[in-house]
């Protein structure tokens, strides 16, 4: 490991730290996560504060970039991969779909954007309607982001545009749904 900023802190590697963040975001209890790593909260809280400080210190952005990669790789973490919060059967099915079906992923991204625009907690909305928690959603989002980046790098703008348009359509669709649920938009009575 050439970059000293990537050395573990109190034995907590960047992969451990990113995996803890992902698991906590996915609703796994902190005690369970820390026990699996063999540490206590005193150790974790120091490691966490110092990992953030390392990201701030790092002018190359390597720590932050690596953190993102590790976050998307949580399913391969040797100690934490099997720790999961209770997920419904529908949730599991939707989660599988989210990983494999780009259209479904873009739809939920669009829905979440629309939800926030209508004052809804998008993370809670996704949990309530699709049984997918925020942490799991973010992990899959990182994986799709890598694919999107490879499309941009490979000049595959047709695909980028195709999915971007699809997401825009979904934002409109969900916006109409949320608007009607709140009794309409502020200018509905003003017609051209």
């Amino acid at each position: 490991m050439s970059n000293p900023l990537l050395e573990p802190i109190h034995g907590v590697s960047l992969f451990d730290y990113a995996a803890v963040c992902a698991k906590l975001g996915a609703g796994v209890a902190e005690n369970d996560v820390l026990s699996a790593l063999g540490i206590e909260s005193a150790v974790y809280e120091e490691a966490s504060a110092l990992w953030v400080a390392r990201m701030q210190e790092d002018s190359t952005w390597e720590v932050t970039t690596e953190f993102g990669k590790c976050f998307a790789e949580v399913e391969n973490h040797p100690k934490l991969k099997d720790l999961n919060a209770a997920v419904t059967e529908d949730g599991l099915e939707n989660m599988e779909k989210l990983k494999t079906d780009r259209y479904f992923y873009e739809e939920l991204c669009g829905a979440r954007i629309a939800a926030y625009n209508y004052g809804l907690d998008g993370a809670q909305w996704t949990q309530d309607n699709f049984g997918i928690n925020l942490g799991d959603f973010q992990i899959v989002a990182m994986q799709w982001a890598a694919i999107q980046k490879s499309e941009v790098d490979g000049d595959d703008f047709e695909n980028v545009l195709h999915f971007s348009n699809y997401q825009q359509e979904k934002i409109k669709e969900y916006s109409s749904q949320f608007a009607s649920e709140q009794g309409g938009n502020v200018s509905d009575d003003i017609e051209f």
Binding site: Q56, N117, N185, F192
Partner: protein, 304 residues
């Protein structure tokens, strides 16, 4: 006959363009009035909720703010949708030789639309302004809490007093002086925020210094633009007197620019150093880490 019917046709289109444009501007005006009324009503409500949100993280406030902004956007979107529809309609309808009719329609409507967007942006800024947090108060609460609890703990093993000797913002081990047992001290949720509160408070306290730096920076670019403009104008200048006069002004501007540019790093360093001094004073246990961050920012010369 053919030309006559074509002329009648064109007259009809011209008429339709003007009517549509007039209607569009009336439509925009109604939307703008509604936007203003709605935003003006929302602002005091948001200010109130920012102060009195029952949620500790002000999530209720952020959701309401987001929905108010969403409504402002929905107004602009409504105007934009109509604009796109009419623009496409005339784009297909107006033939090549009367294209300026289409361009005028499009540009004038677009100007109107942009005016609505400016009003929307103005209110979005106002709405952003309702998101205020007095970090001085949050920090005071942490200090007061520390004072009130520092002597309240006893070793879980032998009951001897354990002094909380400083503000800890992460869970830590404190040893009992009597029985040497390692006790685990977990700070309150608000004290765990000390590092973040410290940075935000330091930023609040040094906002005036950042402003000074930004203004100087802006001044530098204004002087530079003036100088550049004059230099460009020299290229086509033939009158000797004018050339002499402009050259003199360029020299003056160059000198001014150099003086302002020289001040910039000094102002930036003063801002950054003061900010980090505040942050260090608030959370001294992270001083080493703060200093590494400071070194990076000073080297990269951008503000946090």
């Amino acid at each position: 006959m053919f030309n006559l019917s074509k002329n009648v046709e064109i007259e009809k289109v011209i008429d339709e363009v003007h009517t549509t444009k007039d209607r569009f501007f009336v439509f925009l005006q109604k939307l703008e009035i509604r936007l203003k009324e709605f935003a003006e009503e929302a602002l005091p409500e948001l200010t109130d909720l920012n102060k009195n949100d029952p949620d500790g993280n002000k999530l209720g406030f952020y959701r309401m703010k987001s929905s108010v902004e969403g409504q402002l956007d929905s107004i602009v979107q409504k105007a934009r949708d109509v604009f796109e529809e009419k623009k496409n309609y005339f784009e297909g309808k107006i033939e090549h030789e009367h294209r300026s009719l289409y361009y005028d329609f499009r540009n004038q409507c677009l100007d109107g639309l942009q005016k609505l967007e400016i009003t929307r942006n103005y209110y979005k800024n106002q709405i952003e302004g309702t998101d205020s947090q007095d970090y001085e108060m949050v920090y005071q609460a942490i200090l007061e809490e520390y004072d009130s609890i520092k002597n309240n703990f006893n070793c879980v093993q032998c009951s001897s007093p354990i002094l909380i000797d400083k503000i800890y913002f992460t869970t830590t081990y404190l040893s009992c002086a009597a029985c040497f047992t390692q006790n685990t001290f977990e700070p309150s949720s608000q004290t765990k925020q000390l590092e973040h509160v410290g940075r935000s408070l330091a930023e609040q306290r040094t906002a005036h210094l950042l402003q000074e730096y930004k203004e100087q920076s802006k001044l530098a670019s204004v002087i530079f633009s003036k100088k550049h403009e004059l230099e460009m104008s020299l290229a086509g200048e033939n009158l000797k007197d004018v050339i002499v006069q402009k050259t003199k002004i360029i020299q003056e501007l160059t000198a001014q620019n150099e003086a302002v540019e020289k001040e910039l790093p000094i102002l930036y360093e003063r801002y950054l150093r003061t900010l980090f001094d505040h942050w260090n004073a608030i959370n001294p246990t992270m001083k080493n880490e703060h200093e590494k961050f400071y070194t990076r920012l000073l080297k990269e010369n951008y503000y946090i």
